[in-house]
């Protein structure tokens, strides 16, 4: 048993240092894994220290709880597919938020005469934790396609949502002002859960990178608030580190779409979903369909090919086949690179993880600013399941909903091949000018099947 408070504090300090090292090592893929091990060691120190504190009981429940959580965690982590990583992160956000809210609830129930500042922390922890829990559940349902990925909207949604949040905050203020009873916090959690559901419902699939990052920040802040409740510096610091990470990613993602965070969160309202039909052909330009054989010839005799992956590649689970196609092309002396847009996919860095899983060396994965100057010297830009991030309208058409969003300069390549399931527009519901470009041809079909056909055709070309 550890009873000296200084020893306890020092051990928790070890944990804090380990976590910071873990994040610091993420600055390069070379050391990142070691960093994660350091973080793991830090967590073990924190758990062991806490278990050895004086005056704890309920050991049967404790061991069962730890065992059940471990089994669930290991099974989940081992079996999840890399394409399902956004869902997994959403679950973990929710689970952490839920745990923080439960700790707050238990503290509220136990404490006979809580100090005023502790009540503030209990309220914050319960509020943010619950919003994160319910919001993540909806985000998960959307990503897993249990719910439609399209925005779910109803009239005066913003006003209703604001009222629900106001209600929760009012209850929090009441609790801080001294209103007693379990019902106060229970009702607060209820309203916060409802708000969590309602604030994610109207957010569409392609905006998920922002939402997941934001929920990540929320969960961190909830953990930090729990730290104030329990007077635990390790919780305060660790929670805040996560809060900072989530906030930074939220801002980066919103910037990559050239939208404010507020616009992403509340922008689904009044937005007209137009142009669900085919592309405008009224100016005489038309979309040209092509065959795998034609594309194979184009690719085989190219000097430089840039692959532009998007969510369509993830949906079709085509990442392994895309790499194989790149291998075959490289075998023929073609220079192949991958252009990664920051918001391609459903979460920050989604495409990188998929291609890493497919064993693509990370040196071939180029970020937008690096690769854009290379498109003019590129023979073929191969767009696989990406849409809005390649739309030139973002540069020129001030009326376009995505105007101002930084895009990959795919249209500057000598020729463009787009692998696409159908002519349906992307998430933003707008036509992609790129498909009408005289240099562009379309290869329709499931991304995986199309890529497999391309591999076969290149091999025989």
């Amino acid at each position: 048993m550890i009873s000296d408070p200084d020893v306890v504090a020092l051990l928790y300090l070890v944990t804090i240092v380990c976590f910071i090292v873990a994040l610091r090592f993420l600055s390069s893929p070379k050391h990142a894994r070691k960093g994660n091990w350091a973080g793991g060691a830090g967590m073990l120190v924190a758990i062991a220290t806490t278990l050895l504190l004086d005056g704890l009981g309920n050991w049967v429940l404790m061991i069962v709880g730890l065992a059940v959580g471990t089994v669930v965690g290991v099974i989940g982590a081992r079996n999840v597919r890399m394409t399902a990583m956004p869902q997994m992160v959403a679950i973990f956000n929710g689970v952490g938020g839920g745990a923080a809210a439960l700790v707050a609830l238990a503290e509220w129930h136990t404490a006979i005469d809580p100090a005023r500042d502790e009540t503030v922390s209990v309220v914050l922890s319960a509020l943010i934790g619950s919003i994160s829990f319910a919001g993540s559940a909806i985000a998960f349902a959307k990503l897993q396609e249990l719910l439609s990925g399209r925005p779910i909207v109803f009239p005066s949604q913003n006003i209703v949502n604001a009222l629900v949040l106001l209600g929760a905050v009012a209850l929090g203020v009441a609790a801080i002002a001294g209103v007693e009873g379990e019902w106060v916090l229970a009702a607060l959690i209820g309203l916060a859960l409802l708000f969590g559901v309602m604030f994610v419902l109207p957010i569409g699939g392609a905006d998920m990178p922002v939402v997941i990052s934001l929920l990540n920040a929320f969960t961190g802040l909830a953990a930090s608030a729990t730290g104030f409740v329990l007077d635990s510096t390790v919780l305060i610091v660790s929670g805040m580190l996560v809060g900072a990470a989530g906030t930074l990613l939220t801002l980066l993602m919103a910037k990559a779409m050239n939208r404010s965070v507020a616009n992403v969160l509340f922008g689904a309202f009044g937005q007209v979903q137009t142009g669900v039909g085919g592309p405008r052909a009224d100016d005489g330009r038309t979309v040209r369909a092509t065959t795998p054989e034609d594309v194979a010839v184009q690719l085989s005799f190219a000097r430089k090919v840039i692959v532009v992956p998007g969510y369509g590649m993830a949906v079709a689970q085509a990442q392994h086949d895309v790499r194989q196609l790149a291998d075959v092309l490289e075998g023929r002396g073609v220079d192949v690179k991958y252009a990664i847009h920051p918001v391609a996919g459903r979460m920050p860095g989604h495409m990188n993880v998929l291609l890493a899983e497919a064993n693509v060396p990370y040196t071939q994965l180029q970020e937008m600013d690096e690769i854009n100057p290379e498109f003019p010297q590129t023979d073929v830009a191969l767009v696989i399941g990406a849409n809005d991030v390649t739309n030139p309208a973002a540069r020129s058409d001030t009326g376009s909903p995505i105007y101002g969003m930084p895009i990959l300069d795919v249209d500057k390549a000598a020729s463009i091949v787009v692998l696409k399931r159908s002519m349906r527009p992307g998430f933003a519901g707008i036509d992609n000018e790129l498909y009408l470009d005289p240099k562009a041809t379309m290869l329709f079909g499931d991304a995986k099947e199309s890529v497999l056909k391309l591999i076969a055709a290149v091999k025989s070309a």
Binding site: G69, V74, A99, A244, V353
Partner: protein, 111 residues
């Protein structure tokens, strides 16, 4: 745990926020998904709170809340760490010569 004055705790919070921004702004976009799951793992630190609540619980309500919190937090810690480790293991500088060159037609597992 040792009671610290609120002001000290707030100071620690603010410093941690700045430190977090500094450290995390150096993470390349390529590693943003592992960053998220690594952050997931780190907020699993609420497990400390869950252990304290359950360990000190006397009545059924607190026990249920503490136990649920502990299960959630443990799953968060363990799952978050393993997923991050699995993901980071995939980032390689150059391709492995022995893997994946033979899976074109035979791979029907939809992975």
């Amino acid at each position: 745990m040792t009671e610290l004055p609120l002001v000290i705790e707030l100071t620690i919070l603010i410093l941690a926020a700045f430190l977090g921004f500094e450290v995390i702004s150096k993470v390349p976009a390529m590693l943003h998904t592992p960053l998220m799951s690594g952050a997931n793992f780190i907020h699993g630190i609420v497990i400390v709170g869950a252990i304290l609540v359950l360990g000190r619980a006397d009545d059924t309500f607190t026990k249920v809340a503490g136990f649920s919190a502990l299960v959630l937090a443990t799953a968060n810690v363990v799952g978050g760490w393993f997923v991050t480790d699995r993901m980071l293991g995939m980032f390689k500088r150059r391709p492995e010569p022995h893997r994946g060159d033979d899976h074109g037609d035979s791979r029907g597992d939809g992975r």
